[in-house]
Amino acid sequence: MTALAAEPVAARMRQRTPSIEARTTENGQPFLFVAPADLVLLLTLLRDDEDLRFDALMDLTAYDLLKYPAKAPSDAICAVWLLWSHVHRHELMVQTHAARSDCRLPTTSGVWPAAIYFEREVFDLYGVHFDGHPDLRRIMCPQDWVGHPLRKDYVYPATYHGVSHLRDGQHFESQPAREAR
């Protein structure tokens, strides 16, 4: 496959961005882990480096680690950047964590404008505030929506603007017990 090995990239970048780590997921997918403070610098370097040249942001997303059964449990929101190089035809995953209570990350929309929309989506669904984002509004849910739906501790609303979420005779019990997961 086209995924780049993470270790050489990390070694190359360690000088400028000391917090970088080469890791692999449980099933052996390589990725770079970096502290939020170094994030923008690292992504800029990855974009501009002649041998790496990650000129396209293929995806930016996040997932919630609350109760995720990992070796080192955490309740952070894990944000994921999936990079792709049209020049060298390789891809790379970069991850970072945002604390659940004070959910902030620096914006990467200065590196790739494509991130503007992706970050709005992550903000809407996970509540990650991207500092410096030009237009950080909800994108999917209505502006007056309460909560960030894709968080694992999200509680489904009973009504929206006075209209119930359920059909007559339908009960909340019929919805899966999400907390039990």
Partner: protein
């Protein structure tokens, strides 16, 4: 257009297009600020069709999500099925103990149906674009041909729109008796029909001049704004996942990739609406060829083989109760560009996270940029040329 008409007067007017607007292909709302006829600013407003498909992915079991992928992009549901199933197969393949083997016949059938669906999806795209700029007839020709593809799919899996056909590990049903001839017959008449279609629309001077030079996206812009698929290729980037990161049997088929090269001639620019339109048409031709090639590759049904298509393999069902833990990213080329699934598994029977990356989402991200400075009447043509399908944006 005279100079006076295009000179800004400094007074702007706000115009809300949608969410109910015949040309927004569903429920997209675009707030346009215009100065006379010139668009000064445009703000897309999404979420009118946000059906929380990604959340549903976290509630249902792995195979139960396949029908929902149909609804992510219903114009090309086969490709959407395929993208998800490939991603799950790739997740299972990260652990040798759970690797799934897709039978060869199923692999070829997948490519066959994906290409057929690409044809019908692009037909809607070009037809709807023509309708948006005022030519209703080509759309009807497109729909007529799409019905024929629907017939084939209906015989194959009993549905006209949301197929739920590709399964994890194979496809749900084998090709029906005589399907090969039927598809070949369709392709033959379709090619003749396309000649007429091109005479009607593609070489039509009114249509060409209407789209030439409108909303050109340069190569670099297209890359950094994350455009994918025909929109990216329309801007001259020679990239197609089917050829460059092949999956399935695409590697053997040798996909030829058309790129935009200022097809509209003197008045056009590379990456304008007309380029995007022509790239789609050329892709239809390429898909016709790929379908024929796939039919040739189709291995004969072995007499003794119990499961030639791997529909619901028993051990896959078992493995999906306990898939490997970790994450996987899988990209496929759907008609609207890259459809990438990023899956996170916690080792249980329900996914931890299902992320769908779709082409229309990033295409709508560039709207406000390309629309600035165009004419108000071009707005619908631009939306049409990017071929956005709203559930793909909102999910």
């Amino acid at each position: 257009m005279t100079v006076e008409a295009t000179t800004p007067s400094g007074e702007t007017m706000q115009l809300s297009m949608g969410p109910h607007h015949p040309a927004t292909h569903g429920v997209l709302r675009i707030v346009v600020e215009s100065d006379g006829e010139i668009v000064q600013n445009c703000t897309p407003d999404h979420g009118y069709l946000h059906r929380s498909i990604e959340k549903i992915g976290e509630c249902v079991e792995w195979p139960m999500f396949v029908p929902y992928t149909d609804r992510v992009d219903y114009v090309c549901a086969m490709n959407a099925n395929l993208a998800y199933c490939l991603a799950v197969e790739r997740l299972l393949a990260t652990d040798p103990a759970t690797t799934v083997v897709v039978p060869r016949r199923a692999e070829v059938i997948r490519v066959l149906v994906a290409e057929l669906n690409r044809i019908s999806s692009h037909l809607i795209a070009v037809g709807a674009m023509a309708m948006d700029v005022g030519a209703y007839t080509p759309f009807l020709h497109g729909i007529a041909q799409r019905e024929l593809v629907n017939d084939i799919f209906e015989k194959l899996c009993g549905q006209r729109l949301t197929y739920n056909y590709v399964t994890i590990g194979g496809v749900a049903f084998d090709l029906h008796h005589g399907a090969g001839d039927e598809i070949a017959r369709f392709l033959d008449q379709f090619e003749r029909e396309m000649v007429r279609f091109n005479r009607l629309l593609t070489t039509n001077a009114i249509f060409r001049d209407r789209c030439a030079g409108v909303a050109a996206v340069t190569r670099d812009e297209a890359i950094e704004w994350g455009l994918v698929g025909p929109n990216l290729r329309g801007s001259g980037v020679d990239f197609d996942l089917r050829r460059d990161v092949p999956y399935g049997v695409y590697g053997e088929l040798g996909v030829r990739v058309p790129v935009g090269q200022c097809f509209a001639g003197r008045r056009g620019r590379q990456g304008d609406c007309y380029d995007r339109y022509v790239v789609r048409l050329l892709e239809i031709n390429e898909s016709v060829r790929l379908c024929r090639e796939a039919l040739k590759l189709l291995p004969p049904k072995a007499e003794k083989e119990t499961d030639p298509i791997g529909g619901w393999q028993a051990d896959v069902t078992k493995q999906l109760k306990k898939p490997p833990k970790g994450s996987v990213h899988c990209r496929t080329e759907a008609p609207r560009g890259e459809m990438g699934y990023f899956l996170v598994s916690d080792g249980t029977k329900t996914p931890w996270r299902v992320r769908v990356r779709t082409g229309s989402f990033s295409a709508s991200g560039i709207f406000h940029k390309v629309m600035r400075g165009t004419f108000l009447a071009d707005v619908v043509a631009i939306i049409g040329s990017f071929d956005v399908v709203v559930p793909e944006i909102d999910r």
